[in-house]
């Protein structure tokens, strides 16, 4: 079981990550400069925290401020793929991969290199130098090099950020496949939500040096605990409201634009809340076919802007408060896939009824995050 709970001051930045990982792929997700990469450096042994403890999978203590333990990087058995890859430019692919196998008998070392070249589809490139390889090939050599000595923990720092989109998604799939084949714990740093969807078993959401939320991917993406996490995982529709009644796991929430019944077992019983719903979970209702699920919250809204996003369209839809005296309009973001977009003939008119699906709506207390608002 991997665990980290440390504090480090780096200049004015205060890094204080705390989470655990057990034989799984953990995505560290957060905006740039939030301390994800520094966390990896601390785990690799390239940054000494001021206090706390880091335990590696298998139980070895890599760092313990109180016990005065600070293993040097070369004794941590951690594979580290840095953002810039840092392949040794004066060595061939095979030499790069073999670098971490210095203590191995030469026959076994050669065998391991061949094995890794095959595992990552690099056959025939063994004698190429980094500058003679494409970005994707360099990427794979960096992976092979990090995996060579069979580390107990793999650290990946935005390894795909420098690549073009098609290559990135291909390598993402390869890493996911690799991850299924190799039984190991990996920490994967990214600020790309797409990579969270593609790779994460578990997600650790970072902001400003701290862990805001840690949980299974679906939990974090569908049930952020605070407004800040909801923003970071791009929930987009975060509507302030008040709980006016609560009974048997169903909260009645009143906002200036609608009143909604939210079934959320974790919902607060009373007080100020945010109603959260992702753009893909808002449905545009077809004329004359009202939502069969009586629980959905139905709102009249007007399309004010539209952005084509490849296979979906994002609609910005304005809802006016029924009582114009008490508020400003709220603009919902609604994602409509290409097919329903055509079937409904969205461009034909501007005013639609939208339904917030009950099962995808949840509440976040407004005072949960001091920096919200």
């Amino acid at each position: 079981m991997f665990s980290i709970d440390v504090e480090a001051r780096v200049g004015k930045f205060h890094l204080q990550p705390s989470f655990t990982a057990d034989n799984e792929f953990v995505v560290l997700f957060g905006p740039s400069g939030c301390g994800k990469s520094l966390t990896l450096q601390a785990v690799a042994g390239l940054l000494a925290p001021d206090r706390g403890r880091i335990e590696l999978p298998g139980g070895a203590v890599a760092f313990d401020a109180e016990a005065g333990v600070n293993l040097p990087p070369q004794r941590r058995s951690v594979g580290y793929v840095v953002q810039e890859l840092a392949l040794f430019p004066h060595m061939t692919a095979a030499q790069n991969i073999a670098f971490g196998l210095a203590g191995w008998p030469s026959a076994r070392r050669r065998q391991r290199v061949t094995e890794l070249l095959a595992l990552l589809g690099l056959e025939g490139l063994a004698d190429r130098r980094p500058r003679q390889m494409s970005g994707g090939q360099q990427q794979r050599v960096a992976f092979a090099r990090a995996l060579a000595a069979e580390p107990s923990l793999l650290l990946l720092d935005e390894p795909f950020s420098a690549l073009e989109a098609p290559l990135r998604s291909m390598l993402r799939r390869e890493v996911a496949a690799l991850r299924r084949r190799l039984d190991l714990t990996a920490l994967f740093v990214t600020h790309d939500l797409g990579e969270v969807y593609a790779l994460g078993d578990h997600v650790v959401v970072y902001d400003d040096g701290r862990v805001l939320q840690h949980g299974s991917r679906d939990d974090v993406l569908r049930r952020p605990h605070s407004r800040r996490v909801a923003e970071l995982v791009e929930v987009r529709n975060i509507v302030p409201g008040d709980i006016v009644a609560y009974a048997e796991g169903v909260a009645v929430v009143r906002t200036p634009w609608f009143t909604s019944r939210v079934r959320d077992a974790n919902a607060p019983v009373r007080g100020e809340v945010y109603v959260c719903i992702r753009p893909e979970h808002i449905i545009i209702e077809r004329e004359g076919r009202e939502s069969r699920d009586g629980g959905n919250t139905v709102i009249e809204a007007e399309i004010i802007e539209e952005v084509a996003m490849g296979n979906t369209h994002r609609l910005f839809m304005r809802a006016d408060p029924p009582d114009m005296e008490i508020g400003v309009p709220y603009v919902f973001e609604v994602d409509v896939p290409a097919h329903p977009y055509q079937v409904l003939n969205i461009p034909s008119r501007r005013n639609w009824r939208i339904a917030l699906t009950t099962e995808h709506t949840w509440l976040v207390p407004r005072d949960a995050d001091p920096r919200s608002g």
């Binding site: 990087p73 941590r76 430019p89 670098f99």
Partner: protein, 279 residues
């Protein structure tokens, strides 16, 4: 300044902009300024007909041998003590770092004669440390060892400066990754840092060796001008010239020095290019 030696030249857009016509005259003029005296030297050496005799004279051979040995020893010492110093200056903070940095610049700026006087005052028989050295049976001044020390004093800073810049240009992330791959600090230095800084090491070595080979002022004052033990080629040229017998001896010496320097520079440049290509 020193990077020029090691790095392949960049192609500029100057030519395409028509700057070639504008910049060619001064450039050619200066090239001619460098080439004409060297060509004259070669021409005189060939036409005088005494080149062969002079080249094989003991005066020339002795000074040639001495120059070759002392400048090579100087370079070897500079590499052995200068490389660790350059690494520390590039990678570590330590008390007195500013002072060491300043000390390294001084010999580059000072006239070599000042270095010679300073060395004599410190290590000469009547120098500050002279008594102790004498008691230990060590006599440095006016020996071949003094030639090496004089050369080292003025030329090693060129090596250290250049190599320091080379180490600084190696991204620390390479060393970090090497250490996560199980490499000890020494192995990381040997297998990663040093090869990546290699072009700078070669450039520094060229500068250092060239400076040592041409050393005159400090050697003259600290080591003297004794044939066979301290009379290096630059000193032999001065001596022959001042003796005023014939200008043929200085010419022969000069030609040999030019040829030796040109061959070595060319060789090292090929080496440096090879190193740059590998990276």
């Amino acid at each position: 300044m020193t990077q020029v030696l090691a790095q392949p030249r960049e192609r500029t857009t100057g030519a395409r902009l028509g700057l070639g016509w504008l910049f060619a005259p001064p450039a050619l003029l200066f090239a001619a300024f460098l080439a004409v005296p060297l060509a004259a030297l070669a021409w005189r050496a060939v036409t005088s007909g005494e080149l062969a005799d002079n080249v094989t004279s003991s005066l020339v051979l002795d000074s040639l041998r001495l120059s070759a040995i002392t400048s090579t020893v100087t370079l070897a010492v500079a590499i052995m003590v200068g490389t660790p110093l350059a690494y520390l200056l590039a990678r570590r903070d330590f008390p007195g770092k500013m002072l060491v940095d300043l000390l390294l610049d001084l010999p580059i700026v000072l006239p070599p004669t000042v270095a010679g006087v300073a060395l004599l005052v410190a290590l000469g028989r009547k120098g500050v440390l002279g008594g102790e050295l004498d008691a230990a049976g060590v006599n440095i001044a006016f020996t071949t060892a003094a030639v090496v020390l004089a050369q080292l004093f003025v030329s090693a800073p060129f090596y250290i400066r250049t190599v320091k810049a080379g180490f600084e240009s190696v991204e620390p992330v390479y060393e970090g990754v090497a250490s996560t791959l199980g490499a000890s600090p020494l192995r990381t230095f040997w297998r990663v840092t040093l090869p990546l800084a290699w072009p700078s090491l070669v450039a520094g070595a060229i500068l250092c060796w060239a400076r040592a080979l041409s050393e005159l002022g400090a050697t003259l004052i600290f080591a003297g001008n004794l044939e066979g033990s301290t009379r290096t080629m630059p000193l032999a040229i001065i001596s022959a010239f001042e003796a005023g017998k014939s200008i043929d001896v200085p010419i022969a010496l000069s030609v040999i020095l030019v040829l030796a320097a040109a061959v070595l520079l060319l060789l090292l440049r090929v080496l440096a290019r090879g190193a740059a290509m590998r990276v």
